[in-house]
Amino acid sequence: MRRDEEFSEFFTSRFDWARRTAYALCGDWSQAEELAQNAFVKAYAKWPSIRRETAEAYVRTIVTRLFLDSRRRGRDRERPFADLPEHGVGGGFSDPDARLNAALLQVPPKQRAALVLRFVHDLSIEQTAAELGCSVGNVKSQTARGLATLREAYGEPVNSECV
């Protein structure tokens, strides 16, 4: 079946990427696995109507929105922590990444999503607004506030690019 063959190829090449994106958002490998899996299940159901060249962006949008939905519903509401965990969950943070990821977790979810899309995935403000389903102005403000929170959590003065 052509549908399954194409999807299989896409899954093999992009599942780990989706899982890491989810991890950047939620900071937990178990949840990241769940978010990525759910995103690919949704993508499979819609696969006939997804163009291959936009499939990656489609999955990324689903991962981001599933993450924000889970935070809005209060399920698995995260509790930011100031100290690093002694060990990670299913892999956890490893130096030097652990410090940045721990700081990222102290950024509110919407602002964190904006930061991940803008800087981790290097999307434009317009692309980020489209994926988050909000206005360009909202992305700008969320990014600015997210960066401020991240810098404070990271604990060292750093230079900043324009948002």
Partner: protein, 298 residues
């Protein structure tokens, strides 16, 4: 390195091996597709069922449809022209709607009436003298014609139409709408007028029970609804007068007159050659006047 640049490497972290397999994702995906399709089907079924239930509810909530052969039934605030109540019995269930035969359709431009059709039920009680077999005295017929002229001065009443040897007596009724007729025939019954009237509730194929009034002397007058018949979409209305002396008078109002008839080859029968007028020559109220008037004729 600023923090934005640090963020750009956030995906390049050490990660545990993934536990999700393609097989798991595709199984869950197929279940999701099935659920979506089942949901769509159920949604369509629910919408169709909702429309059906809604339509049924609205139909039941609305007033009963007015039969097409009761043109003056009108809203409840209008007094019915006949003024007699209908016999208190359930109506017949229509088996169809009137459709003129292709061999004798109404003339061009005449609209097809929409009338429900119901079974014609034969009398269960035999008449002592069947309708049409009771000859009436000449003076009775003359009085009857006078009565018609007095009761419905709105129309021109002709002299007695030429007969064909049968015990039936007709006059033309004419006004601006054309010429129709009313025909008198008679029979005899032995017994209660009410019982025989009850026995004749459905003998003309009407769906609604007839109007009925009972005079102080015990005469029962029963007026049936207008019905359509062949040929040319003929419109007929019958009124029965059951007198306490056992005489049954039957008046039949028709939308055709003598000029629409000619003697048929078979002795004693008429043949229709013209379609007649668009409507009956008398309204129900006008026609109903003739019943009580003839009831007292000697």
């Amino acid at each position: 390195m600023n923090i934005e640049e640090k963020l750009r490497g956030a995906l390049d972290v050490a990660a545990p091996p993934p536990t999700t397999t393609l097989d798991v994702v595709m199984k869950r995906g197929r279940r999701r597709v099935f659920a979506q399709r089942a949901g769509a089907v159920l949604g369509v079924v629910a919408v169709v069922a909702g429309i059906g239930i809604g339509a049924t509810t609205l139909n039941m909530a609305g007033p009963p449809p007015t039969p097409a052969n009761e043109p003056d039934a009108g809203p409840a605030t209008v007094v019915h022209s006949v003024g007699w109540p209908r016999v208190n019995t359930p109506p017949q269930i229509p088996y169809g709607t009137w459709t003129p035969a292709a061999t004798a359709p109404p003339p061009d431009g005449r609209p097809i009436v929409s009338m429900p059709r119901c079974n014609i039920q034969a009398r269960k009680l035999a008449l002592a003298t069947p309708i049409g077999n009771e000859r009436l005295p000449d003076d009775f017929v003359a009085k009857w014609i006078d009565t018609v002229r007095r009761q419905v001065p709105e129309v021109q009443v002709s002299a007695l139409s030429p007969g064909v040897g049968r015990a039936e007596y007709a006059v033309d009724l004419a006004d601006g709408g054309g010429t129709g007729s009313v025909r008198l025939t008679a029979g005899r019954f032995a017994g209660s007028a009410t019982v025989y009237a009850d026995d004749s509730l459905w003998t003309f194929g009407n769906c609604a029970p007839p109007y009925r009034t009972v005079l102080p002397d015990g005469t029962v007058i029963q007026l049936h609804d207008v019905r359509a018949a062949e040929p040319f979409q003929t419109l007929l209305q019958v009124m029965e007068v059951y007198r306490p002396d056992g005489l049954l008078l039957q008046l039949e109002l028709a939308n055709y007159g003598s000029k629409d008839l000619r003697p048929a080859a078979q002795q004693g029968y008429w043949e229709r050659i013209g379609p007649g007028r668009l409507t009956p020559p008398l309204s129900e109220e006008q026609f109903a006047r003739l019943g009580p008037a003839i009831a007292g004729e000697a």
